[in-house]
Amino acid sequence: MRKVYNRILQIAGNVIMLEAQNVASGELAMINSRHGASLAQVIRLDQDQVYLQVFAGSRGLSTGDEVRFLGHSMQVSSSPKLLGRIFNGSGVPRDNGPELDEALIDIGGPSVNPAKRIIPENMIRTGIPMIDVFNTLVESQKLPIFSIPGEPYNELLARIAMQAEVDVIILGGMGVKYDDYLYLRDTLDEHGALHKSVLFIHTAADPVVECLLVPDMCLAVAEAYAVEGKRALVLLTDFTNFADALKEIAITMEQIPSNRGYPGDLYSQLAARYEKAVDFDGAGSITILAVTTMPGDDVTHPVPDNTGYITEGQFYLKGGKIDPFGSLSRLKQNVNKVTRDDHRTIMDTMIRLYADCLESREKQSMGFRMSTWDTKLLQYGDLFETRMMDLSKNVALEDALDDGWAALAECFDPEETGIKTDMLEKFWPKKSEASN
């Protein structure tokens, strides 16, 4: 039996300190106080002084409360009974179901050996042209959805989740509004997907430290499924809350902040989670989609900025649409070479011309006379927005590409588009040639 300590020497923020021996870094402890029991984790050792981060927060803790070390670090069950269940950030059921303590695995395990990864090459079709044509989603990709508060990011997340062909969905909520949690849960339920889902939900009202555990819980479970050959889709919302929780703890621990108060290891912390996305050589895969709200619509804010360097592109949600310039799928090259010959051509040309169109619009708004070229661009821009950017569209990739050619042909002569001649000969719609 391990020793019980009941003299807490320091309480600052959510971190307590006491003197104890034979404690390991990262170990869990159980604290029993008048307000209930809470788990805590060792985050620092200094001689006999042990610093613990209390998951339920330190409010109401007494210096005389009982602290018992458990001899292991944070664990989560990986049993098949997880499916259809809902838990909070420290793994306690939210759905009145039984606690699960079988097949326990450590969370935050070691990283995957790069030699055991393979190049991802399976496209995930979503039916949304802005994704399928311009920013193709690929299995095992890690992608944030950059967004300002108020954008329909959870709706987009849910929609992608519904249409993606995966075996398991793991949804992690970090600081989500209770309404949003209910919306996501109910949407999964309505589409009959709850039975293949596991939810770890930390709502905005829950203790902040639990927020830090959510991604690790989700990813540990996803990893267990992936190793068994399953294709897991991990949906996280909202990662900015996770980063803010990190900041809060770091400041409490008197760490030197690096940029806008965030700790210097923000990049490594985010990367450790996102890098769990993987396509295993000889097993399943993990795909991660994570909402990252941008304070003040500022993509250079440390959270979206660091995220952008880690992830394989981003969906940039702006004004209810996926922005064609800010958005990017780095893995699209892996799949769009085999979808259809003209996929890349359409993708590059339409975006380039839309950029030119925005320039013309700027000139127009400044009151300059529009040249013939400007007029064509303006016409094209409107078509692009209505036919391609609308998120409520649900069309197959091939049809979306044909729509693209049609829009180009309605507005331009072939040689104005800067497309290679052999492509033009093969794909330029014949009808419009006659009309020109």
């Binding site: 390991a24 995957v112 990864r117 210097g264 990049y267 450790a272 592109g313």
Partner: protein
């Protein structure tokens, strides 16, 4: 070997404090016994009887009182035949071998021999008994892929040595003694095919460092013609995320005319390394006919791997580069990304509670960056041959803002700056190197004066464009409008290049020269075209021809036909 021990007294993330009894070295490697698992770490600060170590692994489970064994060695790599084609982590652990042992995940505390002991090499001695040799001199060779791998007297041995025994030619593993030598003091040493070298010290066993002159051909028009890189030079590619850094690096590692390419994936995505890992064994190297993997070494310490080993990884990479340079080879080292390395330093500095410099980076950041890039260079070796290490580092500035310490510290010491621009990337103009901001101090593959002319047109075109945004097209003169179109034309047909196309992706020097000359005909021509619509139509048509030309393989009939068409079109529109 003295058995130096210590005990853990504190743990703070990957920083572990250790009380020791005897003496320790700064930067000495030590291992912590964490419940039977040996965790490697490096001493980074000593205070009284306590040493602070950065541990190269996750420290969860370490307790106060755990035993620590000091090794008396600095952090070193093993050098010898069999390094080529390998995929290592930042501490030179072979990742494929690790995967065989521990499966999908990297097991903590598992360290394997970097160089395979089970492989035999065909050894041919090049010295005989009685020869006088010194550190860095070749005593024999083994064939390693397409190269003759030189087995050398360890670089750390001072003094002159006399060969007393030489092994017969034959097939041996790397631990075999291939030669015995004796110095004037009568000390006798065995030479094997393997030696160790501390990664943070440059290898300096050469006659002299010379000025880099030859261009390192990358087959990127924008780089080779406009912002060239020299063999033995340094360059950096800073850019915000999504600006195409990785695609550019990938393409450089594929097409650059270097003997050996070392890819150091330092704190970046694992997925990027996987692409190299999986594709290079199947891509053929046009220079040798072998696969690209035959000339590649990958050092891979991706972002989720332990952060302290990330700091070591760039040094591991450059040490391997210097080792192959000692064999008279030209090595290109691509470090992606040096910002992640700097961040690793920052994390450690924060844990050490050092007084922070700008953006909380340590104050010694700049001198470390300079020290790293200075390990590049073209050297004349003692046997008269030359070898070089070219270093290209990407920088990932926070928010894409170049006014930050890592970018600025790097710009001070490199010879070529390839600044990537988000605006160009958004407009899908790839490679998205900004032609107005970038610079190079090295020699171009085309005429330098003409490049200057072309750049000035680009600059003026940009100015006209800016002006047009204010005064509109109608407020711009036809002459200015032609300059604007010329600049856009240059950008579209020469600066932009389709990396994913087989022909356009790699443009040889000869082809660059030919295309550039034709391009200059357009840029210097005095056109009489009429009004702006006509000017635009003309340039659109010409651009179409040029782009098609770029995608046609050299030496084909179609290629020659296009040239004729283009030249005719340029002539017909000239002023009489």
């Amino acid at each position: 070997m003295p058995d130096k021990k210590g005990r853990v007294t504190g743990v703070n993330g990957n920083l572990v404090r250790v009380r020791f009894d005897e003496s320790v070295l700064q930067n000495e490697v030590a291992t912590i016994n964490c419940k039977g698992t040996q965790l490697k770490g490096e001493v980074i600060r000593i205070r009284g009887q306590e040493a602070e170590m950065q541990v190269f692994e996750d420290t969860s489970g370490v307790s106060v009182g755990d035993e620590v064994a000091f090794t008396d060695d600095l952090l070193s790599v093993e050098l010898g035949p069999g390094i080529l084609k390998q995929v290592y982590d930042g501490l030179q652990n072979p990742l494929y071998k690790l995967a065989e042992k521990s499966g999908f995940f990297l097991e903590r505390g598992l360290y394997l021999d970097p160089i395979d002991r089970d492989v035999d090499w065909d050894y041919s001695p090049t010295v005989k008994v009685g020869d006088s040799v010194k550190a860095g001199d070749t005593v024999g060779t083994v064939p390693e892929g397409i190269f003759k791998h030189r087995v050398m007297i360890p670089f750390s041995w001072s003094d002159t040595w006399t060969v007393t025994w030489v092994v017969d030619p034959g097939s041996y593993n790397v631990d075999t003694v291939v030669c015995k030598v004796k110095n004037s003091k009568g000390q006798e040493n065995d030479v094997t095919m393997v030696q160790k070298w501390p990664i943070k010290k440059p290898i300096v066993n050469y006659k002299e460092k010379v000025l880099p002159v030859d261009t390192l051909v990358t087959k990127k028009r924008l780089i080779d013609s406009f912002f060239p890189v020299a063999r033995g030079g340094t360059f950096c590619t800073p850019g915000p995320f999504g600006a195409g850094k990785t695609v550019l690096q990938h393409s450089l590692s594929q097409h650059s005319e270097a003997d050996i390419v070392i890819v150091a994936a330092c704190g970046e995505r694992a997925g990027e390394v996987v692409e190299v890992l999986r594709e290079f064994p199947h891509l053929s190297d046009p220079r040798t006919g072998k696969t690209l993997m035959d000339r590649t070494i990958i050092i891979c310490n991706t972002s989720s791997m332990p952060v302290a080993a990330r700091e070591a990884s760039v040094y591991t990479a450059v040490t391997l580069a210097e080792y192959y340079r000692q064999m008279g080879l030209h090595v290109l080292l691509l470090a992606d990304s040096t910002s992640r390395w700097a961040q690793a330093l920052r994390e450690m500095s924060g844990r050490l509670e050092e007084i922070p410099g700008e953006e909380a980076f340590p104050a010694y950041l700049e001198s470390l960056i300079a020290g790293f890039y200075e390990r590049a260079g073209l050297v004349e070796l003692d046997d008269g041959s030359t070898g070089s290490v070219t270093i290209g580092g990407t920088v990932s500035p926070a928010g894409g803002n170049f006014e930050e310490p890592v970018t600025q510290g790097t710009l001070k010491v490199v010879g070529c700056f390839l600044g990537l621009s988000r605006a160009r990337a958004n407009a899908r103009r790839f490679p998205s190197i900004d032609p107005l901001e970038s610079w190079s101090k090295y020699k171009s593959v085309v005429d330098n004066d003409q490049v200057t002319t072309a750049r000035s047109i680009l600059k003026r075109s940009h100015d006209v464009h800016q002006m047009m945004m204010v005064v509109g097209e109608e407020g711009t003169s036809n002459d200015d409008y032609i300059i604007y179109q010329k600049g856009e034309f240059l950008d579209a047909v020469y600066l932009q290049q389709d990396t994913f196309d087989d022909v356009d992706g790699a443009c040889s020097v000869e082809r660059q020269q030919e295309v550039f000359n034709t391009l200059m005909m357009v840029l210097t021509a005095k056109f009489a075209l009429g009004d702006k619509d006509k000017i635009r139509t003309y340039f659109n048509r010409l651009r179409q021809l040029f782009i098609d030309w770029n995608f046609i393989a050299s030496g084909t009939e179609a290629y020659d036909e296009k040239v004729k068409l283009i030249e005719a079109m340029i002539k017909e529109a000239q002023d009489a």
